[in-house]
Each structure stands twice: as C-alpha cells, then as structure tokens.
C-alpha cells in the first residue's frame, strides 16, 4: 500500500524533477536577464549636482523615454536598413544555392556526391569569426587572388570593403558559412520522399528538371519554410562577421548593425538604459516577425490540408 502510493507519487513528480535543472537555468539565464533588460529600459540615471559622492547618481523611472529616443535615433534606423539590405542578399542566395545543391545531390547518377556534400558542409565547422577573417584577407588587395586575376585581365578593381561591394563581401561570408547546413536539411527532406511518388512521374516520362520542379520542390516546402525562418532570425542578429571585418576596413562602423549599436551603447558609451531599450525593441521585432511568419505558414498548411 505504502509502496504503491510512493510509486504513483514518483511518477507524478518525476517530470518536474527531470525538468528542474532546465527550469533553474531558464530562470537564471533567460527570464531574469530579460526581466532586468525590460526594467533597465524603463529607467534612466539621474545625476545630482556634479554626480560625485554616493547617492549622487540615482536610477529613476523614465517611462517610455528611452524607447522614443531609440526609435527616433537615425543611426539605429540606418543600421536596420543596412541589415535589411544585407538580408535581402543573404537569404535568397543562400537558400537558393542550398536548394540547388540539395536537388543536384538527389539526382540519379551524380558523381562524387559524398565528397562534394562534405566539402559544401565543411564551412559549418568553421567559426564565423574565423570565416570572416579568411574572407577578409581574401578581400584585401595585397593578398587577394581576385585582384591578381583582375589586374592581369586589365579589369577595374573595385574596393570590396567599401560602399555597395561591402554588402556583397559581408553577404558572401554568410552565404559561404550557411549554405551547407541548409543544404543538408533540405537534402534530408528530399531523401525522405517515398519512391512510389516518383513512379507516376517516371511512367509519364518526366525529365529530371520536371520532376524537380513539380514533385521534389513542393514536397520539401516545410523544410524550406524552416530554413527560411532560421535564416531570417540569424540575419537580423548579425554581429560577429562585421565586427571581425572592422579591423580590416574603416567602412564598417561600430554601429553597422543594430546589435552592434546595442553593444556600442552599452559598453562603448556606457549607456545601459538606452541600450536595453534598443535591445527590447529588436527582441520584439524578432518575436513579432517569427510568430507572424509561423502563423502564415500554419494557415497555409491548413488551407492545403483542406483542399
């Protein structure tokens, strides 16, 4: 009797016990910091007199002041536009290449597939900072093979680390690093398509291209949605790559991307309150975009299921 009761208690309590470490970590390293950031964003420092001595600097309620400051900050807006431009290159090119390579891997009688698949996936193992360094050096005129080739051909040599080409230079780093991972995700989904699906197409004498366009791509739409979603989030949060290129060029400012601006405000200027407000705004934009996107994807799925 006693043992039976203890056992049922054990089953009931077990999931909570198993989830305890995750819950504690979540509270300490997710919930508490987010709460603290929100609190900071609603306060500011008030300085009494010269700001000397204890109690001269006090944190007081600021309401939405930090938020209005952030939202009217032209540098933040410019950074957001830069990141949008960057994302408009990275996401379509990276996912387009990932889909292309995945489809090519999934073709019959393709040669060297395991080797090329591994080579394309390899950049995933290389830290973003190191990738940015390697490409950064390849962009430097004195070191780069591109300039050498252009020079030999007598073609003009654009500065890859300035102006418009800078976007391409930065996008290239992200595309290089991310294509392989997304390719694997899409390729795995392609492999999961049952063979019977192709049989009708074979009987109809469909070409490989037709099979790819009419059967394969529609079947992997869920993976494309997933990779698109994660790529957008990663793009909005770009930080390491432009930060790494900074020592190599003067065209990357300390506030190039919104997250770099948050870092700069917090640690460069020491204004943690406005940095917190900007951070909260970026988090909200990310959340709204994510949930909006997931809802759109869900309703599309439901529509398709209804048809």
């Amino acid at each position: 009797m006693i043992s039976a009761r203890r056992k049922s208690y054990g089953v009931k309590g077990a999931p909570y016990a198993f989830l305890l470490p995750a819950t504690i970590l979540f509270a300490l390293f997710f919930a508490l910091p987010i709460g603290y950031a929100v609190w900071l964003s609603l306060h500011k420092v008030q300085v009494k007199g010269l700001g000397l001595g204890s109690g001269a600097r006090k944190e007081v309620w600021a309401g939405l002041e930090n938020y209005t400051d952030s939202l009217t900050d032209s540098e933040l807006l410019a950074g957001a536009l830069r990141v949008l431009g960057y994302g408009a290159i990275v996401v379509p090119v990276m996912l387009g290449l990932a889909l292309l390579f995945a489809l090519m891997l999934d073709t019959d009688r393709v040669r060297l597939a395991p080797v090329t698949r591994l080579a394309i996936f390899l950049p995933y193992a290389i830290p973003g900072v190191v990738a940015a360094m390697l490409w950064g050096f390849l962009y430097l005129p004195d070191v780069s093979p591109f300039y050498f080739v252009l020079d030999r051909l007598g073609l003009p040599q654009p500065d890859l680390l300035d102006g418009g080409p800078l976007y391409i230079a930065l996008s290239n780093i992200a595309v290089w690093g991310g294509t392989g991972f997304n390719m694997i995700v899409i390729y795995t989904a392609l492999q999961a398509i049952p063979a019977e699906v192709y049989e009708a197409a074979k009987l109809d004498g469909a070409t490989p291209l037709q099979t790819a366009l009419r059967i394969k791509i529609p079947m992997v739409v869920p993976s494309l949605v997933l990779t698109f979603f994660f790529s957008i989030i990663a793009t909005l949060q770009v930080f390491s790559e432009p930060t790494t290129l900074k020592p190599l060029t003067n065209s990357v400012s300390t506030t190039w991307s919104p997250l770099m601006k948050v870092y700069q405000d917090a640690f460069g200027k020491g204004d943690i309150h406005s940095a917190a407000a900007t951070a909260v705004i970026i988090a909200l934009v990310t959340l709204v975009l994510s949930f909006g996107f997931l809802r759109a994807a869900n309703s599309r799925n439901k529509q398709e299921a209804a048809q």
Binding site: L25, V110, W135, V262, Y263
Partner: protein
C-alpha cells in the same frame, strides 16, 4: 575501391549492362549536377585552401608573392605563434576545448533530462514549458548577453570561466531535439514494463531510456560543441582577462592589433589554420554518427 575503378572504366568502354536500354550519354553520369556540385565544393574549399597556403608564407612573402604560391615560413610562423606572449595561443585553444567540451556535456545532460520528461510524461503545463523554452531560441543573443553581463557583475562573476560556461548550458534547440528523439526512440511500453518491475523513474531513465537515446544525444552534443566553439559574442562581452579567452576571441584581438602591426597578420593566419584543424578533423571523423534527419525534425519511428 575496386568497384569504383570498375564503374569509372565501364562508361568509357560503353559496354555496361545498364547502358543497353537508354541513350548511352544519359546513362553514364549526370553531367550538370556533378559539375554544379564540384563548383560548389571548390567555392567552399577556396578559403580553406588559401589559409593552408598562406600559413606557409613568411611576413614579407604574404604581401609580395602570388596568393596560391606556397611560401617558406611555416615552421617559423608556428614557432612565432608558440612564442607569442608565452604561448597564450595554446591557452586559448585549451580554453575553447574546455568551454565547448564541458559546456556541450552539461548541455546534453540537461537536454536529455528535459527532452525525456517532455516526451514521455503527460503532466500539467507540459506544452507551456515546451513553448516557453522554444521562445528562448528566438531571443537574440545580445539581448540576453548584456543583462547577463550586468547581473554577473552584481554576482561578481564576470571575467570567469563560469560566466562563459553557464549561460550556454541550457540550449532550447537541444531540448527540442532531445524531445523529438526520445519520443521516437523510447517506446512507452518499455517504460511501463520498467514500472511493472518496480524500477524507480530515475532508474528507468538512466538504465533503459538513456541507452536508447544515445544516437540523438550524440547529435545534440555535437551541435552544442560546435555552437560553443564558434561562439564569439558571449566571451567578447564577459571576458577581459586574455588568459581566459577562447580561440575565437583570442584570434580576434590578435587581428585587431594586426591593423597597427601587420607583422601580426602571419600569426593570425597561422593561428586561424591551427584553430580550424581540430574542428574539421572532429567533423570528418564523426560526421557519420550525426543523425542529420534530426535537423529537419523528420524522425520516423
């Protein structure tokens, strides 16, 4: 190996049994896909090939000889790197191994417990817990890292190993993968049978479920290992003592100083090469243990 050679030789002879029915050209190799993949592979290997060659160049050769022409300074570069600030480079590598290894291990353990609980038990708040954890994936790291830094400062923990290790232990993505994997790999009747035998819940988990979850957990571990090894932002914010830097941050500071003293560029390049080798080697050895179908969430029981 021999079968590969036969397959290669056969199309040239044009007498493989397979070619009998179809047009011979289309039977042999899919030309366009193979070439496309080769171009993709070359693009991905280009910077790696470059760093291998550039690391062999001495400081003067780096800026004067053709990019893909090997130099003569590799051993000297390695010696300089070893000598730089009494071998701080190897300290960075050791730190990265510690952060990534221990961090991934702890993270996998937490993910295993949580994923198993979320997959096997029916309890109040299960979906809520799961959704809150998933929302964690969407949080931009900087948003978390700055208040984490300020809070760590209050606890007097900044600039410590713990400040870089602890915030990364809970990985929402790891929990998500572990949940999918345990739902697919651990049958409920096995858990029930364990209960019938009077085993405690913890014992069922460690003795029965955990061994079944190993392939999925290897994937979680590798993911987390790569994520921590590649992390730059958190150590960048938390650490100021360069004896505690991971390799990413160490190389970055070296590059930053290099903009004033270009002689350091050869150190950066050699350092980048040596930093890439362990992870690439790890990758080549264990890539076959990855259950990559986990990535697309497409596990079938």
């Amino acid at each position: 190996m021999s079968s590969l050679a036969v397959r290669k030789a056969a199309p040239a002879a044009g007498t493989t049994p397979g070619t009998a029915q179809g047009p011979p050209l289309r039977r042999r190799i899919a030309f366009v896909p193979t070439v496309t993949l080769l171009i993709g592979a070359l693009y991905c290997l280009l910077p790696v090939a470059w760093v291998v060659i550039a690391a062999t160049k001495s400081g003067s050769e780096l800026f004067s000889t053709f990019t893909f022409l090997p130099g003569t300074g590799f051993t000297e570069n390695v010696r300089d790197l070893n000598a730089y600030r009494d071998g701080v480079y190897w300290k960075w590598m050791g730190n990265s191994a510690l952060y990534a290894g221990l961090g991934a291990l702890l993270s996998t353990a937490v993910s295993a417990f949580s994923g198993y609980a979320l997959a096997i038990y029916r309890f109040r708040g299960r979906e809520a817990v799961f959704n809150i954890l998933l929302a964690g994936v969407l949080m931009p790291p900087v948003i978390l890292a700055i208040p984490q830094y300020l809070l760590m400062a209050k606890a007097d923990l900044t600039d410590s190993y713990a400040s870089v290790l602890l915030p990364l232990v809970l990985s929402p993505y790891g929990v998500y993968l572990a949940r999918i994997y345990s739902a697919a790999a651990v049958p409920t009747d096995v858990v029930e049978a364990g209960r019938m035998d009077g085993a405690s819940e913890l014992r069922i988990f460690t003795r029965i479920a955990l061994p079944m979850m190993v392939p999925g957990l290897v994937t979680v571990f590798l993911f987390q290992f790569v994520a921590v090894w590649n992390n730059f932002l958190l150590p960048y914010i938390m650490l100021s003592d360069d004896e505690k830097f991971p390799i990413t941050l160490g190389l970055f500071t070296l590059l930053e100083q290099g903009s004033n003293t270009p002689a350091l560029y050869t150190l950066v390049i050699t350092g980048a090469l040596l930093a890439v080798i362990p992870l690439v080697a790890l990758f080549l050895v264990i890539q076959r243990f990855w259950s990559l179908d986990l990535l697309s969430g497409a596990v079938k029981s």
